[in-house]
């Protein structure tokens, strides 16, 4: 529970307590007043009642005639007076006894009354104090409960924090990736076990040394730029994002390829960079193996096609040609045969010739005999003509400054790209015209295949054409070339391929 909330919780109770306290004070003041009034009344009342009878005491008699009467009256009056005085005497006696009780004791009585009042006041005060204490005690108990709760919560939080710190520490410690943190002076503040293993450097000794120790000094600028850029922007730059060129150096001086992601944070107001580094030596080896494997696959496939094509052409086709020649000769010398046999021989010759032509076409499809025998220009031109004729398209071929002898690999690569590109034009573009151009551009041989058909959105490449483009890329990559595909919906597609042309070594004569 946050502290502010606790404060808020205390507020109303406090106010309630104060209101109760004020009420008690009022009640005790009234009680005191009443007691004082009662005391004053007791003190004043006996005096006033004792003063009244004394004023009616003096009576006088005037004539003799009236003497008897007067005596009678006097007697009556005396009797009355006597009666009155007796009554008065009795009353006075009572009052006198009361007065005699009051007179000597009035200070005691006043003192006792004061003491009683004081006592009452004290009792009232004590009772109020008791109530206040009880209320404070209750309040204290509630606060202590709240404190205990808060303490429990904070303990739980602390435990959680501790747990999460432990977890983080164990993740960093057991991470397969190296985790290295540096402060803003590029000094290492964290170096996990994986880092120690990767760099061959003791984890404890690594703390405090500069990170430059693990960056090859051959490329100090490149990587320092990346780090500077990162420091300025807080974003890993694209070159660090792709990371293919990043290298690190082990304690023994061995360089190795890495992949790293860097994050930036602040500890105690100081910037800290944390890098998670992966040694991609193995992956690079695998990638190279994959490239070399796919290269070998393409080579093996081409080699196999070439071998079968040659065998068909050089062996089966030649043997068939000889049979055709023999049949032709027999048919030509038909004078010695009957007409029916002559016709049948002629038919056989035609069929064998057809078979020979089909076999030749098969061999050509497997591996272009034109390309094989006549080179790249003739091969590509022949393919453009054949393709245009077969597909009902106009395929324009042009070439400029292309050397006569180009290595077989380069020739075959470009030939296959032309084949694939023209098939794509036919399959996807809807165009009835395509332009194929071969030219030398410096050290490179440049091939372009352009159509003005439907085009496509390069981001939404269809899977089939995607595979076609992938295979072109693969072939080019094997020979150190590159491919560029530009396409725009409703405008067409342009494929550019470049290869360093290695002029074939002249054949032995």
């Amino acid at each position: 529970v946050p502290a502010s909330k606790q404060h808020r919780a205390v507020g109303p109770i406090d106010r309630h307590f104060l209101i109760g306290h004020g009420g008690e004070r009022q009640t005790s003041a009234i009680t005191c007043l009443l007691l004082l009034v009662a005391g004053a009344a007791i003190f004043l009342l006996p005096k006033s009642t004792a003063a009244l009878p004394r004023k009616e005491m003096g009576h006088r008699l005037t004539s003799d005639e009236h003497l008897l009467f007067e005596r009678e009256k006097q007697l009556a009056i005396l009797a009355d007076t006597l009666h009155v005085s007796i009554t008065q005497e009795a009353e006075d006696g009572y009052l006198a006894s009361a007065a005699t009780l009051w007179q000597p004791n009035q200070w005691y009585i006043l003192a006792s009354l004061s003491l009683i009042s004081l006592g009452t006041l004290l009792i009232g005060g004590l009772m109020l104090e008791l109530r206040r204490r009880k209320s404070i005690e209750n309040e204290l108990a509630a606060t202590s409960d709240r404190l205990r709760l808060a303490l429990d919560t904070s303990q739980q939080l602390e435990e959680k924090l501790l747990l999460s710190e432990e977890r983080l520490a164990s993740v960093i410690a057991s991470s397969m990736d190296a985790v290295i943190a540096v402060d803003q002076d590029q000094r290492i503040v964290l170096f996990n076990e994986a880092a120690a293993e990767m760099f061959g450097y003791n984890a404890e000794k690594a703390i405090g040394i500069e990170i430059n120790r693990f960056i090859p000094q051959r490329f100090p600028l490149q990587q320092a730029d990346g780090i500077r850029h990162f420091r300025a922007s807080g974003v890993t730059s694209p070159s660090m994002g792709s990371l293919s060129a990043l290298l690190a150096v082990r304690a023994n001086g061995q360089e190795f390829p890495i992949e790293a992601s860097i994050s930036q944070g602040e500890t105690n107001g100081r910037k800290q960079f944390t890098a998670i580094i992966r040694d991609i030596t193995e992956r690079k080896i695998v990638e190279e193996a994959v490239i070399s494997l796919s290269g070998r696959l393409i080579e093996a496939q081409e080699e196999e096609r070439r071998r079968i094509a040659r065998e068909i052409h050089d062996d089966y086709n030649q043997r068939l040609a000889v049979i055709a020649i023999d049949l032709e000769e027999l048919a030509a010398n038909g004078a010695r045969l009957d007409i029916d046999a002559g016709k049948r021989l002629h038919g056989l010759w035609n069929r064998v010739s057809e078979l020979s032509e089909d076999l030749h076409a098969l061999s050509h499809r497997l591996h272009s005999s034109t390309l094989e025998n006549l080179g790249l220009i003739a091969g590509v031109r022949a393919f453009c003509e054949e393709f245009g004729e077969q597909q009902g398209m106009q395929v324009v071929f042009a070439h400029e400054n292309v050397p006569h002898s180009i290595s077989d690999d380069v020739s075959l690569c470009f030939f296959r790209i032309v084949q694939e590109a023209l098939r794509n034009v036919k399959r996807h573009s809807g165009a009835n015209r395509a332009e194929v151009r071969l030219e030398s551009a410096g050290e490179m041989l440049h091939l372009s295949v352009v159509d003005h058909g439907a085009g496509f959105n390069p981001k939404e490449r269809s899977r089939r054409s995607g595979i076609g483009i992938r295979s072109m890329e693969e072939r080019l990559r094997l020979l150190g070339g590159k491919l560029e595909v530009q396409s725009c919906l409703m405008e067409g597609t342009r494929i550019d391929a470049w290869l360093p042309f290695m002029v074939a070594s002249p054949r032995v004569t």
Binding site: H313, D314, S369, N373, A378, R507
Partner: protein
């Protein structure tokens, strides 16, 4: 009447055999070779009037050999005899100085007319070639 002297070049002996037997009645077959390189040497040595040559041959193809022959100043008329039927081959052969282009399946019918035309400096192409 001196018979025209013919040199044959093909890497398939059965083919050489048939061509020789076809030509012998009318021509003087002065030699047979099995590869392009030997062809250059023998052509220089034998100075034939006509060379009947295959395209697909070891070491040097017929077309490369034709190029070399022109370079060394051979005056022999060239008649290609091949299984290739593509126009590209015909074009290339003629570009290298060839006069005749005969497909092997039409050997008996076309070779002698092709040689006759070549001797007259005329071109001849077997009708079976594609785009011929």
């Amino acid at each position: 009447v001196t018979r025209p002297r013919v040199l044959l070049a093909d890497d398939h002996p059965p083919m050489l055999e048939r061509v020789a037997s076809l030509l012998q009645p009318a021509y003087d077959v002065v030699g047979t070779v099995g590869d392009g390189s030997t062809l250059i040497r023998e052509a220089e040595r034998l100075q034939p009037d006509v060379i009947v040559l295959d395209i697909t041959m070891p070491i040097l193809t017929g077309i490369e050999a034709a190029h070399k022959l022109r370079e060394v100043g051979s005056r022999a008329k060239l008649v290609f005899l091949t299984v290739h039927q593509e126009a590209a081959f015909v074009r290339e052969c003629f570009a290298e100085g060839g006069l005749g282009y005969v497909t092997k399946s039409r050997l008996v019918t076309d070779l002698i007319p092709a040689i006759k035309e070549a001797l007259l400096n005329h071109h001849f192409v077997s009708p079976s070639t594609l785009h011929g």
